[in-house]
Amino acid sequence: MTATLSPTDWIAPWRAADDLPGRGLPWLDAMREAATSRFQDLGTPRRRWEAWRYTDVAPIVKTTFEPARGGTPARGEVEAALARLPGNGRFHRLVFVDGVLVEPLSVFHELPEGLRVLSFSDALTQIPELLEQHLGKMALYEDNPFTALTAAFARDGVVVHVPKGVVVDRPIEAIWLTTVGAQAIANHARNLLVAEESSEVTLLDVFHAAHNGTYLNNITTEIVAGPNASVTHIRIQEEGRSAFHVADTKIRQERDSRVCSYVITTGGRSSRNELGFALSEPGASCVLNGLFVLNGNQVADNMTLVDHQSPHCTSSEFYKGVMDGQSEGAFTGRVLVREDAQKTDAEQNNRNLLLSDDAQVNTRPQLEIYADDVKCAHGATSGQLDRSAMFYLRTRGIDEIRARQILTRAFASEIIGGIPVQEVRNHLLPVVEDRLCPGHTLEKTP
């Protein structure tokens, strides 16, 4: 840790790097240059910026990072971590260690014809036209310094192209492992998923560290759902306890497409999940579900936007937070219904559970409605465990700690239970319980 560096000094190690992939692609060189200069103009975010008010950004920008350049960890260390993560054996799996794909650890089952699953650096060589067409079109860097960093300095990421009509039956899982090093590293990465007409695909991003060192994962993900396509995106953020995590996920939906997003946050010292949907054509529908489970001094900020640009689109959003210790959670849910978006059906719900007197949550529903024939509902609650329910359980002989656990798990399981991939549900319940009450995992629900 040092005093805050100037934006230019903060990114100096990246500007000096001459080994980024895709050098010489004119459109990419131009984007990198523009994004670098934009970052220098913007500077690092401040809490007084409205969009960053609840992100604990100060400790991030005070840290001096080295660029993540991949790692070759001890085999046992990685294997132990991989075995614990969902989809072991069944999913297509890409394993990134310290920001760079490690092919020997990755698993590709037989892929449907035409499906491309590549690392960002390979995609720049093999399908640069797809990247040129889509990169930076949804996640704009003009107002977001961290997105500018991934535009300028991304080294790797996952790129998926699902051709028309292709149904990918196994989820595609990108695992991001960070190993311990002498110096704090920052990984600026870029994901792109393009699902063409009537295709179906599930993408998981799993962030995991088996240590408590300081590092930053800064991940920008762009998703295009073509006409009638069906996309499921699951983010599982289990970073180490001193880690920083910044995510910007932007999704554009075309006619009649369906996209479900699940964002689960249990890790990290300070994290931010920005998620934006543009429902750009009629008949598109989306689900945004999220759960953040925090304790100790964790801070997690969830910034969501659903932009209803077209008629007959539906959005359904449900975020839950559980805060213990001195943790701070935040949820901002902006729903924008534009003038043309008649017959919009939008609902939003945020419920928070505070388990200690020092925990905090900030919830901000923001509905802006410019069309007149729409259905929009929202609700937000924050409170403690229901005292009557606690008493009820205890009169049956269940002790106070266990009763708290049962009720808290029930609260969290509503979101986890809605995730459509069984391996993910099975993985998450014990992880969440361990965060709620370390060392006291409950037996499985029948």
């Binding site: 008493f391 002989g397 002790d399 798990r409 509503e414 629900t445 029948p446």
Partner: protein, 252 residues
């Protein structure tokens, strides 16, 4: 088994119980009756250990030892059961999970072997059949979306599974149609036994046609105003609670 002596209790500054004396022996069923607001539910919850009620004077003993300092779960493990007037909904926790957790917590506390999933399921099915409960309720969240009658049956089901030595049933009959009332009463009657005491708290005399009590206590203004046999309940049915309240008022 249960002995309540000069019990005074208040909630948020309001004195509700003003010196209750009540004794219940093993093998007996007592009815506790009284008008609305007389303190019946407060007494039931104070016995079970609800924290929001403050006991200001007097004592409650179980088998001769005071339970006032015990947590609700400790009282439960000593064999106390409270059937709730308004059973609580617990979304996300299935009925069978809840009951198994409760039963095994009590067994563990008493140094008994915990039941495994198979043993527990067999027990649960047997008791659910006794209560005429559709097995689908066992896998639904506790009391969530249950009708009033289903909730009350669920309370008695819990009692049948946990097999308490002392059961306090707080207005378990309120809001039940006659068929549900018979099922509930049958459940209670199968639990009668020489090692067990039951206190039935009720507003209506009708329940006592199906569960015949050994004694009837009438509560008014936070005190036991009258104690008698089952004929007292019939008198109350004919004359209402007014005369008891007047009597209690003139004594105060």
């Amino acid at each position: 088994m249960l002995k309540i002596t000069n019990l005074h209790a208040k909630v948020e500054g309001n004195q509700i119980l003003n010196g209750i004396d009540l004794e219940l022996e093993a093998g007996q069923v007592h009815a506790l009756m009284g008008p609305n607001g007389s303190g019946k539910s407060t007494l039931a919850q104070v016995i079970a250990g609800r924290e929001r009620f403050e006991v200001t004077e007097g004592d409650i003993t179980l088998d001769g030892a005071s339970i006032l300092e015990l947590a609700p779960e400790e009282r439960a493990c000593k064999g106390l059961f409270l059937g709730f007037q308004y059973p609580v909904e617990i979304p996300g926790v299935t009925n069978s999970y809840f009951l198994k957790a409760a039963l095994n917590a009590q067994r563990k506390n008493r140094g008994e072997q915990e039941l495994d999933a198979m043993e527990f399921l067999a027990l649960l099915k047997e008791k659910a059949a006794l209560m005429d409960m559709d097995p689908k309720f066992l896998n639904r969240s506790v009391n969530e979306g249950f009708s009033g009658g289903e909730r009350k049956k669920n309370e008695i089901l819990q009692m049948c599974i946990l097999e308490p030595r002392l059961a306090i049933l707080d207005e378990t009959d309120s809001g039940l149609d006659i068929d549900a009332l018979k099922v509930v009463a049958n459940g209670v009657n199968t639990m009668r036994g020489e090692d067990r005491a039951i206190l039935v708290v009720t507003h209506y005399q009708r329940l006592l046609e199906y569960i015949v009590p050994d004694k009837v206590h009438v509560l008014a203004n936070g005190r036991i105003a009258r104690t008698g046999d089952k004929s007292l309940a019939i008198t109350l049915e004919e004359k209402g609670y007014g005369w008891i309240e007047e009597e209690a008022g003139s004594q105060a």
